[in-house]
């Protein structure tokens, strides 16, 4: 009897040390998915992703939580795709602009001058959705939505009005396509992560940078670069919200539905496109107010660049294989060319 009492006391003490009996809510620990991104916390991608995450939490009654990590705070840009492929991140964006090796064929609409506006890019992207779903599926990724960053332009210290102005300029690039077009136009591409771009422009490590014009204010690029050159190298830059297939398969069916319903309820895809347009229009309006000069190269110069860019297309085709060739055919067909 005495032994039993001692044992009971020991168990009670151990239980107290361990933090007491587990409450019901502790047993039902929520499923947490991490979602890394490069966009600033105030940028529309992050805002929309936060809205989606909040909806998932609400609709699942707290059983599932999606944690959005903006501004490369979880992974730097080049690590986001490997983290999704490996399952280190369950959910996240695939940015076509950053494609350099894996899934290169997805970047067909990112090719220089393939599209010239957000509307044209969206139209083509919608028609290529089955192709994107198939290619992502081959790598174990499930596509949830397809949207974009606004048109890709060139920030610089000095105006870049002509093809001749590109010569010898060190330009920040972020993937194979932007690297190829910069080389083709006579510049020298330098790969600088998005999170380090402000410092690179400030220290004049580079003479310019290709990125979305809409980043001028959220990333404070206007403080360190006074010229924005509208070459319309790409009408937009595709982004796909994907889930690691294994993570998806491991999710209960009702929670899978919650994820899909939440995207619909917050109108994620439509909202992304609407915001892209709004951000683009707002940026154009704001440039003079924030002390930036907008340079619009002449049509003749843009046409010259368009012709030169075919070399970049050839490089891409030679690297992206049969799938790339098929993607190119589908894209040209979708664009009516």
């Amino acid at each position: 009897m005495k032994k039993l009492a001692c044992l009971s006391v020991a168990v009670a003490v151990l239980t107290l040390i361990a933090g007491g009996p587990a409450p019901a809510e502790a047993q039902a620990k929520p499923i947490v998915w991490n979602l890394p991104h490069v966009a600033a916390p105030t940028y529309y991608h992050t805002i929309n992703l936060n809205a989606f995450a909040a909806k998932v939490k609400e609709k699942s009654g707290g059983r599932m939580e999606i944690r959005v990590h903006p501004a490369s705070s979880l992974y730097p840009q080049q690590e986001i795709l490997p983290s999704l492929l490996d399952g280190r991140s369950e959910i996240g964006p695939v940015l076509s602009g950053y494609l350099t090796d894996v899934l290169l064929e997805l970047g067909v609409l990112e090719l220089p001058f393939m599209t010239s506006s957000l509307e044209e890019h969206r139209k083509a992207q919608q028609q290529l959705k089955p192709f994107f779903t198939e290619q992502l599926g081959k790598k174990g990724l499930k596509m949830l939505t397809a949207h974009a960053w606004p048109s890709q332009q060139v920030f610089s210290h000095e105006p870049i009005r002509t093809i001749a102005d590109w010569k010898g300029k060190k330009i920040r690039v972020y993937g194979a396509d932007t690297s190829n077009i910069t080389k083709t136009l006579g510049g020298v591409p330098v790969n600088i992560p998005f999170g380090e771009l402000y410092t690179a422009l400030d220290k004049k490590t580079v003479d310019g940078a290709i990125t979305s014009a809409t980043n001028a204010e959220p990333m404070k690029f206007f403080e360190v670069s006074k010229v924005i050159n509208y070459w319309f190298l790409a009408g937009a830059s595709s982004e796909w919200l994907v889930v690691n297939q294994k993570a998806w398969d491991g999710l209960a069916k009702d929670l899978q539905q919650v994820v899909l319903d939440s995207l619909k309820e917050v109108r994620f895809e439509d909202k992304e496109w609407e915001d892209a347009k709004a951000f683009e229009e707002r940026a154009l309006k704001r440039f003079p107010e924030i002390g930036m000069t907008v340079v619009n190269p002449s049509k003749a110069e843009i046409e010259k660049a368009r012709k030169l860019s075919r070399a970049a297309w050839d490089t891409w085709l030679s690297r992206s294989g049969a799938d790339g060739k098929r993607g190119m055919e589908l894209a040209l067909k979708a664009l009516g060319r």
């Binding site: 490997p82 492929l85 490996d86 350099t100 090796d101 894996v102 010569k167 010898g168 060190k170 690039v173 972020y174 993937g175 194979a176 690297s179 080389k183 020298v188 591409p189 330098v190 790969n191």
Partner: protein, 170 residues
């Protein structure tokens, strides 16, 4: 043997520093005087920097070149310092083991996906492998020091103190 390997690795790191300095200087001169910077210098310099840092780790350890804070430990008696050093070396080895494992996995992933650099399209895995190999060499040097440190800690009282990274310092 470990000393020679560390020295050879750090010598290569030194050569890499020279190469880096040469490439960057050429790039700067060509950029400012001829408006014709070199393609890919930033990428190559990045790869060489990995060699400089990680392949120099073992030699730096042996030379006592890594940062150590001995504000408190320098006031402790020799035998206590000897055992503290055993503990810190064990912790260091554990940490290096984890970092080596993770970086090997990253290099293997880069190899599996045939990842390349953005501008020059160089394969990334060889540069990534420089990290775990350099750290593994440092771990071997630490292990050798740990063996000597344990012997010193268990040895005659007069010799119970911290040992250096190299045998001749012990």
């Amino acid at each position: 043997m470990i000393g020679r390997a560390s020295k050879a690795a750090s010598f290569l790191g030194g050569l890499a520093t020279l190469l880096m300095a040469g490439a960057i200087t050429s790039d700067v001169l060509l950029r400012y005087f001829l408006n014709s910077p070199l393609q890919g210098v930033d990428e190559i310099a990045g790869f060489l920097q990995v060699l400089v840092v990680f392949w120099g780790c073992a030699y730096a350890f042996q030379q006592g070149g890594h940062i150590r804070v001995d504000l408190v430990t320098s006031h402790l008696p020799g035998p206590v310092r000897a055992w503290l050093r055993v503990v810190t070396l064990l912790l260091g080895l554990g940490l290096l083991g984890v970092v080596c494992w993770v970086t090997i996995q990253s290099a293997l992933t880069a190899y599996r996906y045939q990842r390349v650099s953005v501008v020059m399209l160089y394969a990334l895995w060889p540069a990534m492998l420089l990290i775990p190999t350099g750290l593994a060499l440092m771990a071997v040097a630490m292990l050798a020091t740990l063996g000597r440190q344990v012997r010193a800690a268990l040895g005659p009282r007069a010799g119970r103190a911290e040992v250096g990274g190299q045998r001749d310092e012990a």
